[in-house]
């Protein structure tokens, strides 16, 4: 059974095996397929048109399925690996162990933002950025320089208190739990973390930075936490709604999975807390 743990609780061995599996997916080319898929969706998900992965109700189930697929790929490399989550309300500085050289490596250098330390640094030769929006082939970060502080626990709790999953117009203008968690409204939770990390994380090819998975694993956990707090609230919309995925519609690119199929994460994994 897969247990997703807080990244700060991982042992040295667990960190090494997770990084080893990432590097193997990168080497085989499978990693970049996930980057390509994500970018394709984020570029085509628009407020006025069809939208599946972002700025729409299915933001949460889409990313849940995307992470499950990725975790399965990791486990084909090493069955003992699970996606860790990054609770950015707690580990909120560039000196957190998340950014140590034995895990994801540190921030980028001033200027071009190139990550210089750890196993994802260009010098390691194992993490070339192939799917990209500009010509730079190396991982970049600018931890904490592009956004105000990471969201606080109080900001997260305020969003978790919102009782309605999503609402018309079902996009980045909605007043709803989903949109406040995604971060187009209110405290900008999920979006702000992308900006705080900087570099590729601010772009459509954000999965190029392995912290993408730990960030989204936490966003996914917050969805589960919200469900536990609001047992009488469910995914919306439940009926066919133009341009968005309703409860029983299938989601691209899989076309065989609906938001309803993703409401319960426990057949796939559990959390350590």
């Amino acid at each position: 059974m897969t247990v997703r743990k807080n990244q700060s609780a991982l042992t040295r061995t667990e960190k090494r095996r997770f990084v080893d599996a990432l590097l193997e997916l990168k080497r085989s080319g499978r990693y970049d397929e996930f980057v390509t898929t994500h970018n394709g969706f984020i570029m085509s998900d628009t407020d006025q048109g069809e939208r599946v992965g972002h700025r729409s109700p299915s933001f949460l189930p889409w990313h849940r399925r995307f992470l499950i697929d990725f975790e399965r790929q990791l486990q084909e490399v090493d069955p003992e690996v699970a996606l860790p989550y990054w609770d950015w309300t707690v580990d909120r500085t560039p000196s957190a162990s998340l950014w140590a050289d034995d895990f994801l490596g540190g921030s980028g250098r001033p200027g071009d933002g190139k990550v210089m330390s750890g196993r994802f640094a260009e010098a390691s030769g194992a993490w070339e950025i192939n799917i990209r929006v500009d010509q730079r082939p190396y991982l970049r970060r600018a931890l904490g320089t592009g956004a105000r502080q990471l969201p606080t626990r109080a900001e997260v709790d305020a969003v978790l208190a919102m009782p309605v999953y999503d609402a018309s117009p079902w996009n980045s203008a909605s007043t709803s739990f989903r949109n406040h968690l995604e971060g187009w409204r209110g405290a900008n939770l999920h979006n702000r973390v992308h900006v705080w990390v900087g570099g590729q994380m601010t772009t459509g090819v954000s999965p190029n930075d392995p912290v993408f998975w730990l960030h989204h694993a936490f966003v996914d956990k917050l969805w589960a936490d919200w469900q536990a707090r609001h047992p009488d609230s469910g995914y919306l919309p439940t009926t066919r709604t133009r341009n968005v995925v309703s409860l029983h519609d299938t989601m691209r690119p899989w076309n065989d999975v609906t938001p309803a199929d993703m409401l319960d994460h426990t057949p796939y994994y559990t959390f350590d807390a």
């Binding site: 006025q48 990209r132 980045s172 341009n243």
Partner: protein
């Protein structure tokens, strides 16, 4: 593999966009009215940035039918027309307009900007001298 093999995919777009303006409710339409939609042409931090309304202004890029299923995997980025285009040293910067009228670009995808000019300047800063991967048009 060569880095360029996949590079174009990063901003792959399709020419076969069903820009069905008639389907858009008036409130959803990307009109040429509103703030920040005048043309601009300037050099910012040594890079030339240009913005101008497109002829398609008034239509939006939502690809109409085919809701939900019916699209295969590997769905690339769509060349949505939000009524405005931004170029950086001649390369098109992929931009998108939010429902509230703010803008994002492929370089700053999680942070909104009030005007295309602010968006273009932010892209220049973020690129730090690097060139954009050219927009590649592929058929759907």
């Amino acid at each position: 593999m060569s880095a360029g093999t996949f590079a174009g995919l990063a901003v792959a777009a399709t020419a076969a966009v069903n820009a069905t303006a008639a389907k858009a409710a008036p409130s959803e339409r990307q009109g040429s009215q509103g703030s920040g939609l005048e043309a601009f042409d300037e050099v910012y931090q040594g890079r030339r940035i240009q913005g101008a309304p497109t002829r398609g202004a008034g239509s939006h890029g939502g690809h109409g039918g085919g809701h939900g299923s019916g699209h295969g995997g590997g769905h690339g980025g769509q060349a949505h027309d939000f009524g405005y285009a931004v170029h950086l040293d001649g390369d098109e910067l992929h931009i998108m307009r939010n429902a509230d009228g703010t803008w994002i670009s492929v370089v700053n995808h999680y942070e909104t900007f009030a005007t295309p000019r602010q968006l273009a300047r932010a892209a220049v800063t973020e690129l730090h001298g690097a060139d954009l991967v050219p927009l590649v048009l592929t058929s759907a």
